[in-house]
Structure formats: C-alpha cells, structure tokens
C-alpha cells in the first residue's frame, strides 16, 4: 500500500500523462443507473408499460441520485448544483432528473387513475420523455464539455450515452415485459425490440471502437488511455467484458438463443455487465495530457 501510494506521488511529479482520480466508481454507478433507468422509461412509455416506467423512475431516483450523493464531498449542499443551468451540464442534468421524476411519476399515476385531463396528460408525458432524453445524453455532454481528458473530449460521448441508454432500455423492457400482456399479446413488439437490440449492439460496438480510435490519434493523454484499455492494466477487463461480453456474446445470445425468460435475463445481464464495466473503465483510464506538451523542446 505504501509503495503504491509512493508510486502515485512519483507520477504526480513527472512531466507526462497523469491519471484523473476525481471521478470513480460512485459516479460510474450513478451514470449506469441514470442511463439504464432513463432508457427503460423511454422504451416503456412508448408502449405504456407501467411496470417498466415505475422501475425506471426508482432506478433514476435511488440508483442515480444515491450514486451522486455518495460521490459528493458535501452532499447536503447538492441542491446548489441547480444554480448554473446556463453553463453547466451537471446543473442541466440535475434539473432534468427533478423534472423527470416529477412528471414521470405523475404520468404513471395518471395511467392507473386517469385523474388528469387528456391535454394535460399528453403534456406531462411529453415533458417526462424530453427530460428522460436529456438524462440519457447529458452525462456524455458533461464528460465531453472540457478538453482536459482527450478520451472523453469528443462529440461521440453523448451519442455513446444515448446508444447505451436505449440499448439498456430495450433489454430491460424485454426482461420485465416477458410473460406480461405487453409481449405475450403482441409478438410483433418482441420482434421489434429484438431487432432494435441487435442493431443497437452493433452500433454501440462501432461507437466504442470509434471513441478509442479518436482518442488514440488525438493526443498523448488519449493514446495513454487507449493503451491502458487495450494493452495495459485494464485490458483484462475491457476486451473480455466490455467488448466480448457486452456486445458480442449478448448479440449472439439475442440472435440465436431460444425465446424464454432465462435467455432474456442472460442477454440483459451480459450487456449490462459490459456497460457497467465501460462506465467504470472510462473513468479509470481518463488521462490528462502532459502539462507541458512542449517540455521536451527545452534544454536539448
């Protein structure tokens, strides 16, 4: 432990790429629940699937909210994060979460009790979907908002968030909707979701590889990040879990496995495991560029 600590301090005093340590597992967990929950709500609302919508609201409120609160250094002041909606994606995200939970809960309640007039109900459902779309993408924007970490600083990051969010939503709907009237009475919905899942897996795979490609040729810090993922300390997690389990195995399962609840759980389990690993690894390998990119030109 001491030697490891010592080595980290040594790295901090070298001219060279340095790892970010501010964001870690807690915020990765919050991002995981945020994208999975918002994606589930989006797909569930499309089919008025109240079980999915209810679970999605809990995932965002408890999973995402809890992850963020555990991460914060001063959680009791967390409400202050609403102050800078004009410039900060964190503020925009928090506002979207508040609006989503409120309007989403109203919409679910209304589906069961029909207490709202039709026009108001349509407006509330529209606002809930808009807020859940913001939750699906804002995390990508928050990561790419600054050019500090090349791996994150790309326009692909919000698209990757949206892709993962939709994919998680489709797979969780297939699991939660299995043996319910949603999928039992409408086999065409199952086929639609199955096709969407496979398409999103292929798209997501290309997206993740594009992220790596852009980072590798972007800067020294980006190159270091990709090295850590592909050949370095995290290669044992990235390739087998994020790529193989998260995309390849889950796509093969979805394509060829028999249509039963176990298969759906297996597909969702492998994909969500890959996705969680992706979120954690994105933070673990986040690397700053060398502070002085021109340092080597001095005193030659």
């Amino acid at each position: 432990m001491h030697s490891r600590h010592f080595m980290n301090e040594e790295e901090d005093f070298k001219v060279g790429p340095r790892s970010q340590k501010a964001w870690g597992v807690h915020i990765a967990t919050a991002f995981f629940f945020g994208e999975a929950g918002a994606g589930l709500y989006f797909v569930s609302q499309f089919f008025d699937f109240t079980i999915g919508m209810s679970i999605a609201l809990l995932m965002v409120l408890i999973g995402k909210g809890g992850g963020h609160l555990v991460h914060l250094g001063q959680p009791m002041r967390g409400w202050r994060a609403l102050a800078k909606v004009g410039t900060s994606w964190i503020s925009r995200g928090l506002l979207a979460i508040a609006v989503f939970v409120f309007t989403g809960a109203l919409h679910v309640l209304n589906l069961n009790t029909a207490f709202m007039p039709q026009a108001l109900s349509a407006l509330v459902s529209l606002v809930a979907v808009a807020a859940c779309l913001v939750i699906m993408v804002y995390q990508g924007f928050a990561m790419s908002h600054s050019s500090a970490i090349t791996l994150w600083s790309t326009g692909l990051m919000p698209v990757a968030s949206l892709t993962y969010g939709l994919l998680n939503g489709v797979l969780l709907t297939l699991v939660l909707g299995f043996n319910t009237p949603l999928l039992n009475d409408h086999p065409e919905i199952f086929q639609l979701l199955q096709a969407a899942a496979i398409a999103l897996m292929l798209y997501g795979l290309v997206m993740v590889l594009s992220l790596l490609h852009g980072a590798k040729y972007g800067s020294e810090g980006g190159q270091k990040s990709v090295e850590l993922l592909v050949r370095g300390a995290f290669a044992g997690w990235f390739v087998p879990v994020v790529i193989l389990l998260g995309f390849v195995v889950s796509a093969l399962f979805m394509s060829f496995a028999p249509r039963n609840l176990f298969s759906m759980i297996a597909v969702a389990g492998t994909e969500l495991t890959g996705y969680y690993a992706f979120r954690v690894l994105m933070f673990k390998v986040g690397t700053y560029d060398p502070v002085m990119s021109f340092a080597h030109h001095f005193r030659r």
Binding site: V15, A22, Q74, R77, A83, S88, H145, S146
Partner: protein, 204 residues
C-alpha cells in the same frame, strides 16, 4: 484594473521546490495537497543528458473550463483575473477537477485534515490554526496568494524563489516585467491547444 499573470523562467529554475514549501506554509496546506509542483524529467541521450524542471501552478485561465463547468458558481474569476473557489458554495462534485487540463485542483478529503502531518491523527499547532481555512469535501486550488496580492505583495512562491525563476505582474501593463519577458523571450502558454488562454507563461 490589473490582470495578474506569472512567468516561469525555465533557465533559472533549479528544482529546489522552495516555492512548494513556501506555498504550503503560506496556505497551511494539508498533507497530499500542493498548489504548486515542480515536475521533472530526464531528457537527452547519454552522454548528453540533463534534467528539466517544469514548475506548475493554476494558470488562472482567461477562458477557465473549471468556471464554466462548475454547477454551483463556486468557481469564479475576479476582475483582476484571479480564479478562486468559494468553499461555502462548493459541493465537491469534482467536475472542475476533471475539467482542468492542467490537473491543478484537489478535493480535500476529511482524512487529509484529520491525519495530520505525521500521519498519526494528531495535529500540530500549525495545522490546527491552518485547517480551519478548509472544508472537507470541497475543492481547492492555487489562489495566486490573493490576500498578499491585495496587500501589494507578490505571491509566496514568487517571493521565496531563490533564483527569481518566477515573476509575477500585470499582464495588461505594457511596461511590466512579465510583459517584457513574454515579448522578448516569446513566452509560451501551457497546452495552448486546450483553448483556455492561461495567464501563466513559460520562457526559455
């Protein structure tokens, strides 16, 4: 209104780290926290090998990404260009830490304030009077010693540097030493490709 900035003369830096010590003393920084660091690296091929020293500090950027991403407005820029953190507003989300391309921000963990200099849970009198300036769970960074600057003094690191490798002054004053050095030696900003327009320049 002055726009404060700093010049690092890399010909003069000897890597003694007196600046870091003066900074820790002036700001009573706890263990594990530095507002300024002197990075070093060996360059060249034997027998023509040398060691370079690169002092680093918060660059008080004109287009500070830390200020832009802060969700509470805790990070702000004064009229004289000094970027500060209001720790009464900071929620410790760390967004500014990952947004700073120069890795110049640190979140104070409670252990840093409780463990003490000797890592035994006992605080020295120096730490007891100094730790009240910090709030655990919030982010801190170099302040350009703004209290000293407001009193007409140089930042502690500048005043301490034995080789005068650090020069502090008004970037808007065409006759100031920092402006003259930057112009004469073609001062370079760190990571200009990040579009932050730092107020710290390096000359060689």
């Amino acid at each position: 209104m002055a726009k404060w900035g700093m010049v690092f003369d890399l010909r003069r830096c000897i890597g003694c780290n007196a600046c870091a010590v003066a900074c820790k003393q002036e700001n009573t920084l706890p263990n594990g926290m530095f507002f300024t660091k002197t990075l070093s690296e060996e360059v060249g091929v034997f027998p023509n090998v040398t060691r370079i020293y690169i002092p680093t500090i918060c660059n008080h950027c004109e287009d500070a990404p830390c200020e832009r991403v802060c969700p509470t407005g805790a990070t702000y820029t004064r009229a004289d260009g000094i970027v500060l953190v209001d720790h009464d507003l900071c929620i410790g989300c760390g967004t500014c830490v990952v947004a700073c391309p120069y890795d110049q921000r640190t979140r104070i963990e409670s252990e840093m304030l409780e463990q003490g200099l000797f890592n035994n849970g006992e605080l020295t009198p120096f730490e007891k009077q100094g730790n009240v300036r910090f709030t655990a769970g919030t982010v801190q960074k170099c302040t350009f010693c703004h209290e000293r600057v407001d009193a007409g003094l140089d930042p502690a690191c500048v005043a301490t540097c034995p080789t005068e490798a650090r020069i502090f002054g008004d970037l808007d004053d065409a006759n100031s030493k920092v402006r003259r050095l930057i112009q004469e030696h073609r001062g370079r900003q760190p990571l200009p490709e990040k579009n932050t327009n730092p107020r710290v320049f390096y000359i060689d």
